[in-house]
Symmetry: C2
Subunit: 389 residues, 2 copies
């Protein structure tokens, strides 16, 4: 195996503007969310493959001889997928998170190594992202798997030099990582849009329109709060609700979709200005206004929720502006923090939101995609967890 | 004088949909609000003219000889207005409610009677409408004045027959009442749109577009709550705020105005269906959805207010849907009541809103315009007050 020990991370994803509108042919802006998934891959000489996923309480180990079964694997080979389903014991069509994560790992591992000798290794993953919250946690996992296993297989180099804390791959290598991460996402989601793994790979922001994904050149890093209302919702039901309302009131709703489209365009323009000229309070005022307007539009589409209203009200009481991100109907929201927002205000807001029963993280959007790390560069909590295995 | 004693009333006004959008060339729907202003005119032989306006603590009396000054009056004669300003003691340009109400009365009285002998009479007015809340209280007053004084002058007949409780005038007489009420509004507001006096005269609903006022044929009577948040606001500032936002984000805001326009059109269609086919729950569902969507759009225009958010939240907790009406930024809101809404729910909601510090009335929209009443047909409170003078 080409590497003895590699530590990588990939960010989550948030939709800044255009959720739901994207289903109806409008632009969506997806941004990297700097709640990251960390993966450590270590070569072993135990003759087996271990995977440790403490977030979802999954700890599995296979003998290399057991795994030899899958050696003829090619990209998203349906026969391999079927055999893997049998292998991990899927009996009906519905897979839980743990099973899907296992399948995704085994699929990429066997696809990359199945034609030669299978290496003995241990993969441990720890994530800051909540799962199933629409924050791209599965894509961040798939991106990390693809990056680490591609390095282990020698398909791409490890970019980290001795003096680096973190390093990124060249464009071509990132494309390979992204394509394998997409394979992993196919295992997990069946028919993913490809946005989540693209954000996890490239980071920053990308424009998603009619199935086409265009990474944007430069975007500023924005401080945010990410709040999970923990209200469960079904994306499918919410998407159908919006479509129903558009069909019921086309003359009222079509302009709203056009307005959302213009919000995404205006936001792109503001963010681009922030990288090419000195950042002013007016840039932030504009971003806040766009957030407020879009949140109202999402309510018009019928994907609001009282918990999201509470999020907006509680943060506005501290002078901060919020919107839902993703499917809505509960789920997560983002709150923009201004550069001058005092940390005491941030801490008080986080406490207010926790008092509402929400989970809340101070983080940022627009940060880097998949990275290789030196252990020193990674936050203590991640290293501590990953070193346990 | 043609009448010895006449009792009339006129309704207030609410904007159902299209406030602010109307400033930018879109349709607004104005509806009569069944909080009414009552006016009793009695012939006297005391040789003077009395006006009693207990709501605004105004009780004035003039000798007929004093009033003779204005006998050459014609419609909105600027010289008469100037002389009336001197007469009631206006020293600078700003007039308080009491002064404006007095001027408006004297103007119509002197214009109608000034060419002959001035009659000795007492006019007493009592209103259920709060003043200065954008609910057309001045127009309801002007409409009552015009109707009663036109009857007193013999210009129009009194429509009430012995067996009637209430009666309305024919179309031609209503047009005369409306035109004189508009004169009164000119005195009070300087440059009124004419919508408020038209609603006070015709009642029901009217479409207002680009300065043109079109009364709609038939509309259902809808039960509502009218809530006054009592948050003071300046219509001028709010109108400017919306224009600023449209100029700042034209591609985002223009579609919102188009959506509001479509809301008014859709609402008209639903209301028209409610008069031509059996009323169903679906009609009310649609009216509720339109209210919710427009309230979000008004927030997008920047004319919301935390007190209005509270109104919406508190009523929604009882299953009722609300929007601001008029200028926003505080002021008043309407809450639609469904036919099946239990009176216990209504009472509990009214109490909730009063607990927020708001004034709240259970009333209706779409009811009749100016009416003549027999004293028996008028609510006790109005008769009791008007009989004091």
């Amino acid at each position: 195996m080409q590497v003895k020990d590699i530590l990588v991370s990939a960010p989550g994803k948030a939709i800044l503007h255009g959720e739901h509108a994207v289903v109806h042919g409008k632009v969506a802006l997806a941004v990297s969310l700097n709640l990251r998934t960390y993966l450590r891959l270590k070569a072993t000489n135990t003759g087996n493959v271990r995977i440790n996923l403490p977030n979802i309480d999954t700890f599995l180990c296979w003998d290399l001889s057991e795994l030899k079964e899958g050696e003829a694997a090619k990209r998203l080979d349906p026969e391999l997928v079927r055999r893997l389903h049998d292998f991990v014991g899927v009996t009906n069509g519905t897979l839980d998170t743990s099973t899907m994560a296992t399948l995704s790992f085994l699929y990429i591992y066997l696809s990359l190594f199945g034609s030669g000798e299978l290496p003995s290794l241990t993969v441990s993953v720890w994530s800051e992202l909540p799962t199933g919250a629409g924050l791209g946690s599965s894509a961040a996992y798939s991106v990390c798997l693809a990056a680490a296993l591609l390095c282990a297989s020698g398909a791409i180099p490890t970019p980290l030099r001795d003096w680096d804390h973190t390093a990124r791959w060249c464009q071509e290598d990132l494309e390979l990582i992204n394509s394998w991460a997409f394979q992993g996402e196919m295992i997990i989601h069946g028919n993913p849009s490809g946005v989540d793994n693209a954000v996890g790979t490239w980071g920053g922001m990308l424009r998603f329109l009619a199935g086409k994904i265009i990474p944007l050149n430069r975007v500023p890093l924005l401080r945010i709060l990410l709040t999970n209302t923990k209200v469960p919702r079904s994306t499918k039901v919410l998407v159908a609700r919006v479509t129903d309302r558009i069909n019921k009131f086309p003359s009222i709703m079509t302009p709203v979709l056009n307005s959302v489209d213009a919000i995404s365009g205006t936001c792109e323009k503001v963010l681009s200005e922030m990288t090419s000229e000195p950042i002013t309070g007016e840039h932030y005022n504009n971003l806040e206004e766009l957030i407020d307007i879009n949140q109202h539009h999402l309510n018009v589409m019928g994907v609001g929720h009282p918990a999201l209203d509470t999020l907006c009200r509680v943060t506005l009481a501290r002078g901060l502006h919020s919107k839902l991100t993703g499917a809505g109907g509960g789920g997560c929201g983002i709150t923009l923090l201004r550069p001058e927002t005092d940390s005491s205000v941030v801490q008080a807001t986080v406490q207010d939101l926790k008092d509402c029963g929400f989970d809340c993280w101070e983080t940022s959007i627009g940060g880097p995609g998949v990275q290789q790390h030196s252990p020193l560069s990674v936050k203590e909590q991640a290293v501590e967890v990953l070193n346990r295995y």
